[in-house]
């Protein structure tokens, strides 16, 4: 185990070494923030979720099973926190998913200057479960095996659900214009 491996840093954290935890935050702040941003779209919300994710990870480090990869566990916290944050936000805004879809129809997608924005809109239109799969695989770069650990489901199930999620994304009216042109 190298000195700066996740495993070594986690062990040092458990002995109360804050510097080790700081190293983990430096290493994972970017992917955690990007995952939250893709789950929630709002940069301020993503920042808050990233912060809470690391605080919860620190507080629960004693529960982490070192048999698994640290980042799989961390990503699970980040995605759960994103989902919970999104639910709280929706309950505040009283904005249903249908209303959001109606407000961002294909006409608007056609007018989006950036493909990235269009993709983000389409990702936001997915269910939370499907969005989680897309973010885990494409934003966080998780393999099927890592996703299986993070989501606590068999790798085969990951594969079929990801396929289904991608199909929904492909058929999203928000991306139809761009995909036809591509």
């Amino acid at each position: 185990m190298s000195e700066d491996s996740d495993e070594a840093l986690v062990q040092r954290c458990r002995r109360g070494d804050r510097r080790a935890f700081e190293a983990l935050v430096v290493r994972y702040q970017r992917p955690v923030y990007n995952a939250a941003l893709r789950m929630l779209r709002n940069p301020e919300d993503a920042r808050d979720v990233a912060q809470v994710t690391f605080l919860k990870a620190y507080e629960r480090l004693g529960d982490f099973n070192p048999q698994f990869r640290f980042y799989s566990w961390l990503y699970r916290i980040a995605l759960n926190e994103s989902i919970n944050h999104g639910k709280r936000r929706r309950s505040h805004e009283e904005l249903s998913g249908n209303e959001r879809d109606a407000a961002n129809g294909p006409e608007q997608a056609l007018g989006l200057a950036q493909l990235d924005d269009a993709l983000q809109e389409a990702i936001m239109s997915l269910s939370e479960d499907n969005r989680t799969l897309i973010v885990l695989h494409y934003v966080l770069g998780s393999s099927y095996e890592d996703m299986a650990v993070t989501l606590d489901i068999p790798a085969k199930t990951v594969k079929s659900r990801l396929f289904s999620a991608r199909q929904k994304l492909k058929d999203s009216p928000l991306l139809a214009a761009w995909l036809e042109r591509a």
Partner: protein, 209 residues
Amino acid sequence: MSEDRMDEAEGTLPESAEDSHRLRALEDALANLTQHEAPPGLLADVMAALPPAAAATAHPVRRAAWREPRWQLTALAAGLGVLAISLVLDQQVGTDPAAEDLAGTLMTARPGTGEVGNSALRLSLESLQGSISADNAGESLRLQLDLEVGEEVELVFSQGSEIMRRTLTPGSVREFLTLPGHPDSSVRITVVRSGTPVGEYLLDREVPW
């Protein structure tokens, strides 16, 4: 394309060439999604809001120790001892110190005083002095800041998963803040100066009996 994604592509069985083309375009777009940099200050905020180091120690070890009956008996004996001493001291010393005499400590309303649901914290740092009090504002928690700020500091309010930051510039600060969290949940307040935490406090929102 990663092995996983090639594997997926093989298992896709698209209905048509057009469908396959759309799927491939989507794959490429997803693979090239913009990765943003983490916001500046995130690391400092995380480190500032960390609880004391002991919180990160391995819990299973502690739980295993508590399964030993002798530890439970020792703890029970110690608890009874502390209770007995407290009762004696309470009778001998008499009244409690005034809340405003407690600096940087938890001040919770005591039973029977009529101060239910109201708590306050007194700060006496070099760069920040005064009080922060809390009361219920409907379904939210309202904080009243009554502070003298000597040097720019940031206050980080953490309540469960809710976090709010407030930067204070030198001068007198008299204002109300509403936290979105539950009004009866405790609030952790971290004072950060120049990116370094200089004080951490807990504002207790436990409703007295």
